[in-house]
Amino acid sequence: MGTSGSGQSPIAPADSVARPAPDAGPLERLRELLLAPEVRALVEVRGRLADLEASQQALARRLPGALEALQGEAETRRMAAALSAPVAQALGTAVRTRRQLLVDALFPVIGPLIRKSIAEALRNLVADLNAAIESSFTLRGLKWRIEAWRAGVPYAEVVLKHRLAYRIDHVFLIERASGRVLWHAAAPELAALDADAIAGMLTALGDFVQDSVGAGEGGGNLESATVGEHLVWIASGPAANLACFMRGAPPERLRSRLQERLEEVHARCADGWPEQGRPLPEWDGLLQPSALLSAGDAAAPATPPARLWPWILLLGLTACGLVAWLLGNHVWDTRIQALRARLAAQPGMIVGAIDSRPWRSLTVHGLIDPDAPPLDAGVVAAGLGGVVPTLALDGYVSTDDAVVARRAARLLAPPATVTLGVQQGVLRLEGSAPGAWLAAARERAGWIAGVARVDLAVQPQADPAAAALLELRGLARELEDIEVPFTEGDAPGPGADAQLAAIVERARRARVLAGQAGVDLVLESVGSNDETGGVEINRRVRAQRAQWLATALAARGIDGVRSTDVGSGRHRSAWLRLAIGDVP
């Protein structure tokens, strides 16, 4: 021992510096030697202290008033700046010495924060689980499913177990007081480390935590610490602590296991702990990482022979593949049946063979009538997974009613007023149509392929041109009988005006009708005479009377009338003749 016995004497109170005890040891004498000048200074300082105290009390009385008197922003800001450092320091001191007060004050703020972070953590866990469950069709997922199936537990439980995987890197048994390592073990592949320093730091940390939390003996032990992915759990005992360094997420039951093991270590050393550097051999069995890991997990079901599962997996995969292939083919076949049915339902189409390679290509052989309604590409390709069918179709003549109707419509080109329908080979035409179309239809309908009988129920439509011609002809006949009488030469007789008016009216109407009927119309004024008089004179008189009528008509708006004389006369008169051209 380097110190003499007097080094162990009780610590001297401060006053003893001035009045040394007579039996003071050499260290005490040393203190006097060193401190004599300081004691003199102390007396001086005490005097000054009393003065200071008096002035301080006065200041304390004045201070609140002075602070309240602070006015103006600049002043306040200066004060705040001056106070910031001492206030910060005061807060620091408060954290150390008045912890509970601060905790109480901060509690309402911290509570929600903690809840929020817990919610966050839970969300992450759920996300983890979801990811795991979603990834269940990966190889690992399949393995876990098989494991769950073999063990008869829910899949999620297996996922949780694997997701919570962890490993133990180091185990320390540490003497509680000194922080010395009593025993240490590491996972085999880890690099050596300074176990003594780590155990020391851990102990110092524990002391520090206990001191700062200040919960007295037993309370406020350091139980766990995390650094990145590394985690330390510490079980505390009266003589020794057990520290376990891990990575991952260990289950809570490991914590109680650590405590149990530590208690066992204590129990076996009840009669005294082994000398330093001589760990008990049974500690190995109790505390090795492997020993801590395996215990309690024995309840897990015996795992199947390791080499079996790849085969089960392979078999499973093959079976899955086979089932998928068969399923795919079956689905394809039903789709083809559906396609055949769809095509067969098309009028004017006969479906023959359908050649296909499932989900790749498809050719439809068959016959189609040129008059069949066009195929809807969408209908044909529906449900074939993007395969575009090739149609290899030859022509034929269909007797399908729908197709025959389309053919009849194409050949007869009925006007909009005619409806056309085919039923069991009977072509029925209804409505009304111009006579010309009607005549053609009557002639051709019976020849259309697929038409066995024609039911022609079409009313002929009135033809305005023909009607106009008819009326025109009637007018021409009327006009032959409307004569303008003459007395002598070209002097009109009584009633001539009335006759003239009748002629004018009909001539106007005749020109309108000629336009409607589309025929050329020439108006000729004709003169006639009775049997008296000579031939030459009569011919002259007839010309005079025809000319008179033409002039009179021109005066009434009907011009272009050609005058002519007729050889044989009837009366002393003139009339209007209509010369109607050929029907176009």
Partner: protein, 166 residues
Amino acid sequence: MSGATHKLCLLGDFGVGKTSLVARFVHSTFSDKYLTTVGVKVDSKQVALPGRAAVKLVIWDIAGRNALDALGRNYLRGAAALLLVADGTREDSLASALDLLMQSRSVVPGAIVTLAVNKFDLLDEWEVVPPVLVELRRSLPVFETSARTGEGVEAAFADLAGRLAS
């Protein structure tokens, strides 16, 4: 290979060079930067002893202080040796070291003690005068050390290790 392991605590006022002494002894390094120690820093070193089994020192570099509080006393528990450190250029640091020694007695009554008066390379600025050291040497082993140059450092630790082994 190893004989026993012993806990050694360094005690002394702020900035006297405790951390620097450990750095010199364990890692053979020195820095002019002053980073005050917070709490404790624990290191360990195997010390070979001529003709005897090596001794392993677990060295607790405790944050500088001039009085022992409860936490400080906790740190000392189980220590087999104390290395008091004072700064030769600050006489008050020597008083602090001795104060600390006396306060530590209640926790580690049996610990062996050595005093290192550090910063020997600044001898011109020393306030601790030789007569004081002579007086001190009568009570406990005293080493003048310099963490900067390494002078006396090995000797101080070796002295402790040797006494621990015996």
